[in-house]
């Protein structure tokens, strides 16, 4: 089985590689590129822990072959901080609102929320909950994840963040 030559951009860096066609994007990122932020959770496309940004889409990298990402522009959690190394609005939101406990789902949550806010900069709570419907968290009960995304939206939009009453 012939290997395939792929060229893609990951977190702003050009990458070239020879991959077996059956190599999944999540394995390529974690094992070939040492970018272990995206996680393998369910390995069946349900949990969203492997979510990365690919050409303005949130994709489940455990359900995508690396060859399908040939020519693509990919962002992982390792590329989410601000250029000066400080936390991006979403990362800060998850920290300030306690949007994580064990943290396993967090990279996928943040990458998914990143695309959601690009498409809908001021989402309602309902839109946030539907927007992250493909990401499972087994710790938080989602309340603080929703708040974290609301915090980030407010920060990005320069509007005051008002924590909803319990």
């Amino acid at each position: 089985m012939a290997k395939s030559h792929i060229e893609l951009t990951i977190n702003g860096k050009k990458v070239e590689a020879l991959v077996e066609p059956r190599t999944l994007l999540i394995h390529f990122l974690r094992e070939h590129q040492n970018l272990t932020g995206a996680h393998i959770g369910c390995d069946t496309g349900h949990c969203g822990a492997c979510t990365v940004e690919m050409d303005d889409m949130s994709v489940k990298s455990c359900m995508t072959f690396a060859v399908q990402a040939n020519g693509a522009n990919i962002t992982t959690i390792e590329g989410m901080a601000n250029p000066d190394g400080t936390l991006s609005a979403l990362q800060e939101g998850f920290r300030m609102m306690h949007g994580l406990q064990c943290g396993f789902c967090t990279p996928g949550m943040i990458l998914r929320a990143h695309r959601l806010l690009k498409e809908n900069p001021a989402p309602t709570e309902d839109e946030i909950r539907h927007g992250i419907a493909g990401n499972l968290c087994r710790c938080t009960g989602y309340v603080n994840i929703v708040k974290a995304i609301q915090y980030a939206a407010a920060k990005i939009n320069g509007t005051p963040f008002q924590e909803a009453a319990e």
């Binding site: 059956r22 390995d43 069946t44 979510t51 072959f65 060859v67 539907h130």
Partner: protein, 288 residues
């Protein structure tokens, strides 16, 4: 879970893809969005020796209005169906249905063509295409042909598509501008296939139903077009007795499996409930 080995092909045209499929034979599978096929490959329920990826064929993507039809390219994603202004204006039930498929990530990659052509009775688009009277354009080694959605589905994962043929586009007649519509889907959780679902498109005039079409999802080995049920509604005011009769006629053609989504009797009843709810919502949206 790691799939078996395969060779990867990314043709640039439908002609090249058809030629590849003819040369590679039964060991080759088409790859569209991959979100049905790749999970099967990871569990080794599918082990194709060749994948022919259609993503490099530019003219398989897109939505266009041509006369009194909308034409949707097979590689158009669910996300693109939801975002399309043309579809929102002319056939909004397509976006309504797309929003109920899987989850946001999967809708970015999952394709319209994959959903209709895979033959999975759990997929939502096939019953909708039967409801709307969609026509599938397919291309194979002997040229192109068209197959009505209502004649396409023959069994679970068994369709009128021959090996070596590729679904390229679907033509859908634009319903009357004053039509009412609804897709009602009962599912256990986000991302699940339907326990039962119903697509309804109706037109009304002077308080009477002038046309009706009903499709049913995941309550048989194939999607179902409930033509007898719909015929019982035409000419009525959608009064309770008429709706009851149509619901009973729709339930009568279901043959669901008993599985983790519930026993067969329950799923049949839920198909009836989905028809009833979809009719109510369609009526509230119909003008005329």
């Amino acid at each position: 879970m790691i799939p078996g080995t395969f060779d990867y092909h990314r043709p640039a045209s439908v002609e090249d893809a058809v030629a590849l499929l003819a040369r590679l034979g039964e060991d080759a599978n088409i790859l569209a969005g991959g979100h049905s096929l790749i999970p099967l490959m990871k569990t080794r329920l599918a082990s194709p020796e060749h994948l022919v990826d259609l993503s490099g064929i530019g003219n398989l993507k897109g939505i266009s209005v041509k006369g009194d039809e909308v034409v949707i390219g097979a590689m158009t994603t669910q996300f693109e169906l939801i975002s399309s202004e043309d579809l929102g204006r002319h056939i909004p039930i397509i976006a309504e249905t797309s929003r109920l498929i899987a989850d946001p990530q999967i809708r970015y990659k999952g394709t319209f063509g994959g959903n209709v052509a895979n033959g999975d009775p759990g997929n939502d688009m096939p019953a909708l295409m039967m409801c709307l009277g969609g026509i599938y354009s397919v291309t194979g080694p002997d040229g192109s042909r068209e197959i009505a959605a209502r004649d396409f589905y023959q069994g679970a994962y068994f369709t009128a598509l021959e090996h070596g043929e590729i679904l390229t586009a679907v033509r859908i007649p634009i319903p009357s501008p004053d039509h009412g519509y609804a897709y009602e889907k009962l599912k256990r959780k986000v991302g699940d296939y339907a326990t039962a679902a119903a697509a309804v498109v109706i037109t009304m005039a002077g308080g009477k139903c002038t046309s009706a079409s009903i499709g049913l999802t995941n309550v048989s080995e194939t999607p179902l077009w409930a033509s007898d049920a719909a015929a019982l509604l035409v000419g009525t005011s959608l009064d309770k007795a008429s709706v009851d009769a149509a619901v009973a006629a729709a339930e009568a053609i279901t043959q669901p499996a008993s599985d983790m989504r519930g026993p067969a009797e329950y799923r049949t009843k839920m198909a009836g409930v989905m028809v009833r709810r979809a009719l109510e919502r369609a009526q509230s949206r119909a003008k005329g």
